[in-house]
């Protein structure tokens, strides 16, 4: 993923695209966890969700070249 992407001739930071992608992935993970009640195993679900997001976003950011 390049550092800047031209979307319709507007330069968009690649990080922003990754951010949106990781939000989508988080939403998917969140839905799965909710469906199977996995949040019951966690002390503070929103904090856990935030932590998962940071992990996902951090991992995605490694794709940036």
């Amino acid at each position: 993923m390049p550092r800047e992407i031209a979307l319709g001739d507007a330069l968009v930071p690649g990080l922003l695209v990754l951010f949106v992608l990781s939000l989508l992935l988080l939403w998917l993970l969140d839905a799965i966890a909710g469906r199977f009640g996995l949040y019951r195993l966690v002390w503070h679900p929103p904090l856990f969700r935030l932590a998962v997001f940071v992990c996902v976003f951090g991992a995605f950011a490694l794709f940036l070249i």
Binding site: D30, A31, R35, R40, H44, P46, L47, L50
Partner: protein, 708 residues
């Protein structure tokens, strides 16, 4: 203190203290959370070098709420609104870059349409519309002299708002979240316990009509509250989202069961009133097993599941007893009424079983099965009310725009923006004139506080840390007021006025002349919004709209009689409940208006459901061609009567139903239709119902005997 024996007076006092401390703590928790998100958003916006960090900060105030789920729900819709508004702004500027008149007309129309759309929705969807309207103004108006800048303006606005939303979303979700999920869970459990308890207690016999009306009102409120809660909770809790469809199904089944239950009790009441105690008592006896089945502790965890087999047993017992009890009656009219009641009871038992089943699957720890049956909660909307809102907002914008162009006022943009924001924000409140005045008061006070803060405090300090210390006390006053119910509007005005006029940015400018000019413009904008509410009063809460809503409620019977059948039951119930709750919210409890409404709602509910069941039965089996015209005629006249109630229409409907009953009697094997028709007829002839006003003054003696 804890070791000594407490005196008798101590526990209440300590309790009171603890209660008030808990209340205070939740207020201050709200203040702290809002301050954290306010300053965090501001700091990030400054780090990112966004042109207007104050927008991000203001956003955190606008979405601030004690409940995390509300913050997330409002944020979600604010995102949608902002994106739509920014897109519209780019479109409008691109279309009329050099035509200020056309530009203003297009912008006013867009804002007006959005304000109109907002009145069609309750909860936060309406907020998305308002936002789409004023975001377009916020993006487009500042670049009116420099059209090519519109894209940058849109991007800046979107980034600021989204940053503010992100920060307040994370803060509210993570820092001591106050979960609405628990409120929803409690609401659902209360609804279940109340209803089951009410059914159980009423097996002893008749319920007086006013108790029935009160119960109806409570059930309607419970259904609508549950739906509103559900639509916000799905944003905070993934598990609630997974169960969202079950929740809807639960609510729909609740509405269906409560309607059948009421029909049943109206029937028993009517029989009693007509001194036909024997039939009434037989029905009550038939109904007894159901009451016994519900005699189980319902607050225990697995309650609903426990009730299921008991209801099945009771249903079977009722079926067995029905034939037995029927032999004790001999009069044909008694038999007819008994059959009607028994079939109604059968329907109620089925619906109760379905409702308890839904409750059981909600209570179970695992999400069962794939998705539940898809049902939706339809709303009853009024398009003329929306048209008025559109017209008013467009007119306000046009007048202000014309004034701006004619006077060449340098601060016109500011006034225009504020008028847009407030005309949109308060168009959906029941009493916008009062609310706008209160907010305006708060706004003025907030701007005065902003003046003091900016020119006497912030000039003395340096750095972001000191800025926080300097600004926080002023803002906290407004936030505390927001949490005090009587001062909520003033507090909102204070916080918004303060944050807006302060306009914190990276390089803060201290210009008293500009500050005062801006303040005057903003007050004029606010005043214009307030004046527009006086000049063109909003439809919401007016007697005119209430009459329209009542007419809409009555025409629900026509819907039941004529709309296509698939999904009609849910549609009928949910629109009914939505309409009733809208009108209830806008009338004084106990006033003549509210009583008339409830009386109509009961009649509409009962007749409408009976008609839907009748049509279902007609569709399921083949009705002979010689019979169908009579049934269609009955449906048609009933629909017309409810749409436009008057004495001749009443007579027509009554006779058509009587003819239909007679012709069903002439056909062999069509008896299953009789029960529904009887129910409709009994409702029509009920002398205590709202329809009594349309009855001929001297009813035929034969009818009295039948009626009741």
């Amino acid at each position: 203190m804890s070791t000594v024996n407490p005196t008798n007076a101590a526990p209440p006092f300590r309790q009171v203290l603890a209660e008030s401390l808990r209340e205070e703590a939740s207020v201050w928790l709200f203040v702290v959370k809002t301050l954290i998100s306010f300053f965090a958003a501001g700091w990030l916006a400054m780090r990112f070098d966004l042109p207007a960090p104050s927008t991000a900060m203001l956003t955190t105030i606008i979405v601030a709420n004690r409940q995390s789920g509300m913050v997330l729900a409002k944020s979600f819709y604010r995102t949608i609104g902002t994106l739509a508004g920014a897109t519209a702004a780019i479109g409008i500027v691109a279309s009329f870059p050099q035509q200020r008149d056309l530009f203003l007309v297009a912008l006013s129309l867009w804002i007006g349409l959005c304000a109109g759309g907002a009145t069609l929705y309750r909860n936060f969807k309406s907020y998305a519309f308002v936002l789409a309207g004023y975001t377009a103004a916020i993006v487009a108006v500042p670049v009116i002299d420099n059209p090519p800048g519109v894209f940058d303006s849109a991007v800046a606005r979107i980034s600021e708002v989204l940053l503010g939303l992100l920060v307040s979303g994370v803060v509210n979700d993570v820092v001591f979240p106050s979960r609405m999920r628990d409120v929803l869970r409690r609401a659902a459990r209360d609804q279940f316990a109340h209803f089951v308890g009410f059914v159980r207690d009423s097996t002893e016999g008749a319920i007086p009509r006013d108790a029935m009306e009160k119960a109806h009102l409570r059930f309607v409120r419970a259904a609508v509250t549950l739906e509103d809660l559900r639509s916000s909770v799905i944003f905070e809790d993934a598990e609630a989202r997974a169960r969202s469809n079950h929740m809807r199904l639960f609510n729909q089944r609740f509405m269906a069961a409560s309607t059948s239950f009421q029909s049943l009790h109206h029937l028993i009441n009517r029989l009693k009133r007509a001194k036909r105690v024997r039939t009434a008592d037989t029905l009550i006896r038939l109904y007894a097993p159901l009451g016994e089945a519900l005699h189980a502790p319902i607050d225990a965890g697995l309650a609903a599941r426990v009730l299921l087999p008991r209801i099945v047993t009771a249903r079977d017992a009722m079926r067995r007893q029905a034939a037995e009890l029927r032999t004790t009656l001999d009069d044909p009219q008694d038999l007819r009424d008994f059959d009607t009641g028994a079939s109604l009871l059968g329907r109620f038992a089925e619906e109760l079983h379905a409702y308890v089943d839904a409750a059981a699957s909600l209570q179970s720890p695992r999400v069962i099965g794939g998705s539940a049956e898809r049902v939706s909660f339809d709303r009853g909307n009024d398009f003329i009310g929306a048209g008025i809102a559109t017209f008013r907002t467009t007119l306000t914008m046009l007048v202000l725009g014309a004034f701006w162009i004619e006077s060449a006022w340098p601060m016109g943009a500011s006034a225009m923006l504020l008028a847009t924001i407030f005309a949109g924000l308060f168009a959906t409140t029941p009493n916008p004139t009062r609310v706008t005045w209160l907010v305006m008061l708060g706004y003025l006070a907030g701007m005065v506080a902003g003046f003091v803060c900016l020119f006497f405090v912030l000039t003395q300090v340096d750095g972001y840390g000191l800025l926080i210390i300097g600004v926080a006390p002023f803002l906290a006053i407004g936030l505390v007021m927001m949490m005090t119910p009587s001062l909520a509007s003033i507090g909102l005005g204070w916080a918004m006025g303060f944050a807006y006029i302060l306009a914190l940015k990276n390089v803060q400018t201290y210009d008293p002349a500009h500050f005062i000019n801006d303040a005057i413009a903003q007050v004029i904008g606010l005043g214009a919004a307030a004046a527009s509410f006086v000049v063109i009063p909003p439809a919401i809460g007016s007697a005119w709209l209430r009459r329209r809503q009542l007419a809409r409620l009555r025409s629900q019977v026509a819907l039941a009689a004529e709309a296509p059948l698939p999904g009609l039951r849910h549609r009928f119930e949910s629109v009914n409940h939505d309409l009733v709750s809208q009108v209830v919210a806008q009338t004084q409890p106990g006033s003549a208006d509210s009583r008339a409404l409830i009386a109509w709602a009961l009649a509409v509910h009962e007749t409408g459901r009976a008609l839907i069941e009748l049509r279902h039965d007609m569709g399921r089996r083949d009705v002979p061609g010689t019979l169908r015209p009579y049934l269609d005629e009955a449906l048609h006249t009933l629909a017309r009567f409810y749409e436009k109630p008057d004495a001749p229409g009443y007579l027509l409907a009554r006779d058509a139903v009587a003819t239909a009953i007679a012709s069903v009697g002439e056909h062999e094997g069509e008896g299953y239709l009789l029960e529904h028709l009887h129910l409709v007829r009994l409702a029509l002839l009920d002398g205590e119902s709202v329809l009594a006003a349309y009855m001929p003054t001297a009813p035929l003696t034969k009818d009295i005997a039948h009626a009741s």
